[in-house]
């Protein structure tokens, strides 16, 4: 059985992922299409929330992705710190903008949903607030990558930032809870609490979630490979200049 670390070789990683990319890409498109069309056209309105319940199908998946992408970055950062596989660091770099966009989507759809439901676009609710902080973490992380010229230095620094940032993100989540009780409904995704959401709304949401996950995977592959190539191009160019 070959070790999984084989894929730490950039070329091997690129070959394997690029072979898989079309499948993942089409699956993502399919799931997203089905989930969103199903959700948008073929689900009933909620008796309380009216048609706004349709925002559910994008709000929840994007919110989940926003959090999970940060977790993925945390893991790849750890791999870089411990084993120093370049692909790992580059994958974290590639994922950050996707995470930021997901956070933005969650924030936007949440805000749009909040207007009819809570009578306000924005409230300083813990869930919302900690999302805003998460968005700041994404921004800072990307800005740090962009600001440092040397790739290895940037990888080291951003991964440490990711570690420390995660601790502080958890802390702020707790702090924010302490500070304000909030309007946002609790998590209903865990399986035992499924009754919170009726099945009619639930199944298309699941498909849509799968679509978001697949889209993320596809995008990460594309972007990581781009980063790998860009890095090699930089290295070659530097070498050329050296003569």
């Amino acid at each position: 059985m070959a070790s999984i670390w084989e894929y730490a070789n950039p070329l091997k990683f690129m070959r394997t992922t690029e072979a898989a990319l079309p499948f993942i890409g089409w699956a993502a498109a399919l799931c997203l299409g089905v989930g969103l069309v199903w959700g948008f056209f073929f689900t009933p309105d909620d008796f309380r929330q009216g048609s706004t319940v349709k925002i559910f199908y994008i709000h929840v998946p994007s919110a989940m992705m926003a959090i999970n992408i940060w977790v993925m970055m945390l893991i790849t950062s750890l791999i870089w710190i411990v084993r120093r596989h370049h692909v790992s660091a580059l994958a974290a770099r590639a994922a950050a903008p996707i995470g930021a966009v997901m956070t933005l989507i969650a924030l936007f759809t949440g805000a749009v949903w909040g207007q009819p439901m809570w009578g306000t676009w924005w409230a300083w609710d813990p869930r919302l607030t900690s999302f805003l902080i998460l968005f700041l973490f994404y921004l800072g992380y990307m800005a740090l990558w962009a600001a440092i010229e040397n790739d290895d230095t940037a990888a080291d620094l951003t991964s440490i930032l990711c570690l420390v940032g995660s601790v502080f993100a958890l802390l702020s989540r707790y702090a924010v809870n302490f500070w304000n009780q909030g309007l946002h409904q609790g998590a209903s995704l865990s399986l035992d609490k499924k009754e919170n959401v009726a099945d009619v709304f639930w199944y298309p949401a699941l498909v849509s979630i799968a679509g978001f996950v697949l889209l993320f995977v596809a995008l990460v592959i594309v972007r990581t490979n781009t980063e790998i190539r860009a890095r090699r191009a930089r290295a070659l160019m530097a070498r050329e200049r050296l003569g």
């Binding site: 730490a8 950039p10 596989h85 010229e149 290295a235 530097a238 070498r239 050296l242």
Partner: protein, 205 residues
């Protein structure tokens, strides 16, 4: 206390600059690095001083035997010359700054804020710091920049004294210092040529 460098590869910006540099310097000896601009002298010296990691290869002495002096001298412009030197002597736990002051003829300038010194006077202060560290291996990157003839001679004597006391020195310089016990190493021969790999690996080269 001999400094042995074995097959050292040094890199700048992730790119190998010099490859397989080997030499050894005995106590009482100085090594002068030579080579055209951009060959990698600064990079090699910083690696020796422990300020950046080597790609591969060994250096026989630990970094805390080395004292490094570069283009920028770590001089605080708002402190006086004396305060600057005293600070470093505290940090390195040496007792006195008097020999350094004397060797570089700084006595007249002691109470002058370092920011008011001329280029050459600043340089002298930077070099005086080396003596204050009390370390055996001096690593010097173009030490004589901005120095006039008198000061160069002064500096030459200080180096000779350091070597006579069993110290080592490694210098990169474009001019001739006239040291009596100095080896010279031409770096041109060690320029790294990296080969293009198809199956590119972690270093992406």
């Amino acid at each position: 206390m001999e400094l042995q460098v074995d097959k050292l590869c040094v890199a700048r910006g992730g790119l190998a600059v010099l490859r397989d540099v080997s030499f050894s310097v005995k106590p009482g000896q100085a090594l002068v690095l030579r080579g055209p601009n951009g060959i990698g002298k600064t990079t090699l010296l910083r690696t020796l001083a422990g300020l950046q990691p080597a790609l591969s290869g060994q250096v026989s002495l630990a970094f805390d035997d080395m004292a490094y002096a570069a283009h920028v001298d770590g001089i605080k412009t708002t402190l006086t010359v004396k305060e600057n030197l005293l600070f470093w002597s505290h940090v390195f736990g040496t007792k006195t700054i008097d020999p350094a002051v004397e060797a570089f003829a700084l006595a007249d300038l002691l109470d002058k804020p370092a920011g008011l010194l001329s280029a050459g006077q600043k340089r002298r202060l930077g070099l005086a710091r080396l003596m204050v560290t009390g370390r055996a291996v001096w690593i010097l990157d173009e030490p004589t920049v901005s120095l006039d003839q008198t000061a160069v001679a002064l500096f030459g004597r200080v180096i000779e004294g350091h070597l006579a006391g069993g110290g080592l020195a490694i210098l990169a310089t474009h001019i001739d210092l006239g040291l009596s016990n100095a080896l010279s190493l031409e770096l041109g021969a060690y320029r790294a040529v990296s080969s293009l790999q198809d199956d590119f690996d972690e270093a992406f080269l």
